[in-house]
Symmetry: C2
Subunit: 392 residues, 2 copies
Amino acid sequence: MNNFDFYSPTYFVFGRDRENEAGRYVKKFGGSRVMVVYGGQSAKKSGLLDRVKDSITAEGLSAIELGGVKPNPRSGLVYEGIELARKEKVDFLLAIGGGSVIDTAKTIAMGVPYDGDFWDFFSGKTPETALPVGVVLTIAASGSEGSPNAIVTNEKTLEKTAAEADCIRPKFSIMDPVLTESLPPFQTACGITDIISHAFERYFTPTKDVETTDRMLEGIVLAMMHEGRRVMKDPHDYEARANIMWAGMVVHNDVMGVGRKQDWNSHHLEHVLSAVFDCAHGAGLSVIMPAWMSYCVEHSDALRFAQMATRIFGCQMDFDDPKRTAREGVEAFKNFLRELNMPLTFAEVGADPASIPRLVEMNNIGDGVTGGYVGLDRAAHFEIYETAAGLR
Amino acid sequence: MNNFDFYSPTYFVFGRDRENEAGRYVKKFGGSRVMVVYGGQSAKKSGLLDRVKDSITAEGLSAIELGGVKPNPRSGLVYEGIELARKEKVDFLLAIGGGSVIDTAKTIAMGVPYDGDFWDFFSGKTPETALPVGVVLTIAASGSEGSPNAIVTNEKTLEKTAAEADCIRPKFSIMDPVLTESLPPFQTACGITDIISHAFERYFTPTKDVETTDRMLEGIVLAMMHEGRRVMKDPHDYEARANIMWAGMVVHNDVMGVGRKQDWNSHHLEHVLSAVFDCAHGAGLSVIMPAWMSYCVEHSDALRFAQMATRIFGCQMDFDDPKRTAREGVEAFKNFLRELNMPLTFAEVGADPASIPRLVEMNNIGDGVTGGYVGLDRAAHFEIYETAAGLR
């Protein structure tokens, strides 16, 4: 196990109706002039936005709105938000939404006190300070409610990259599973896929002897398979929604990712896909992950995949041929994604196989390799995209 | 799943040699006049105490010592520590040790700014403030390095009770697995037993639909069985020590305990045992837990124990007779405790069966019941102690 630091100071407020306490927590964490960031019309129509704003004014605080965040959030709205926040002397960002909304709020929070272009923080610079951010979570997927990360797409270059800093960890995150019940089945399944991917990006590691976190990660995937099936049957199953929501946070605040080299190749390969074709992140992952797994099985001893196959998917270990077991595990994972009605091919997310050279180019690999479990060079990137496109 | 709050703001610093950074973290979290609390001679002899003190003075801070904390820590030293801390104007407590040392430091931290008797905080009162506490962990067991709890024994009454408050959560905890390598096998096994008990006290719950945390808890126990066997073979197995150390924190900071009613009957039943007979806490748990499990199997539908038996201990589910499977699980757990050379009977921890009426009396049950999974009345307490004493 490698040396590490772990720090997760967010205050989590979990359960039914707890969004009505938003104002109280904004006040507790020092906010007085709040910018409420949200996405489309659903937060308005459902009355959620009004309820949260009422809880803010009930504490004697003021609130302005910034709506219109879209999935795969774009840099344009961030610039707009920074300007508005400065003008209105905002001192607290409250995100009502999922990862795109939270990441937009986090990025505005970094940008407001910074003299330069906020994109610097997505190009390697670490922010020294940020306005405090709070969250009312409405989508279980990104884990951004408990993470120090934000992901934004640069509108000019279509670069989709991440910033990371402890100062953008949310001060509090309110997690009411009821708020996720109105999500359509496809978005729900995308969220479950994203949560599982956050487990697997950590699970597939070259680091030895990380049994404690291995077992926790396997537990998360097992629980997501069980609860995922439940929620696909009944979108109003509160208990399934609750288990998925807590898993989404805990798998990504890194308590299970510490002390090991992580992989993240599936995310790298997916980010350019969704940046170019604007598909849902979870859908893109569902296309990329199995193709990436198949590549890794053939280019490693595959024992980690055999571990996945036996411990998670209940496959029998073939001690004469561990790769056979590993391949069975990958097939079992694909079958589960199919159960969720998730796409597995380029065609299903509207991606054009002819774009592969461009996708590889955007990954900026050069002569190096990416990832942690199996290092991927340019040729490997081609092979994985081609597999996902059905060209192999 | 029940509504809950979760908050774990401790900064964890994990890995080889990281205790040399203690001074830096004391400074980061605002300390200048530090009281270093420790136990016996080993911290002195090993040079650990000097190294940590050097790291403090290297930052331009000052340090005084309070040594002599014993297992099952007593109130007397706390009073002494509070007086000394006030006299020396201490503004930071740094614990070097395991649960007993950390809990003594936490209690001094609560007591210094408080006008009354610190025992108030062990009798239901919540402290409003406390001095900041840091930890250099040398025993993986109690989880106190990441918890809001302190457990102290009142020397006059032999009451061993707990205080709980967010303000005594450590600001930072340094966790170097190497520091645990000098622990004798018995203490190591006691720690593993305590860690497993912290999983089971949460696992056995009447709350339904807590699959995500169930799976994580099962993962911790599975990992502790694997790593426990390794470390009993080779006390210098760094990787096993590291896995056990991280598990000890994460299983007790409550990230896996949220949203469910917890049990804690084994701890209640054990605390009076170790208070009276001064046995190691982990040894007491090893005696009590299987007796408590056997009682619960016979006084419930036993399905949670069948779940434990199948998922953790690999037993086959007997769908005609789930209690048979549950009983097999309890036996498998006892066999694992035996592998660790842990005691299973009153006699092995020097406890007198004739003391049972006194132990039950000390539990202050009255006409009520204790616990969460199966409520235990006075008669049940007698039965469990009698089972542990071999009288049944």
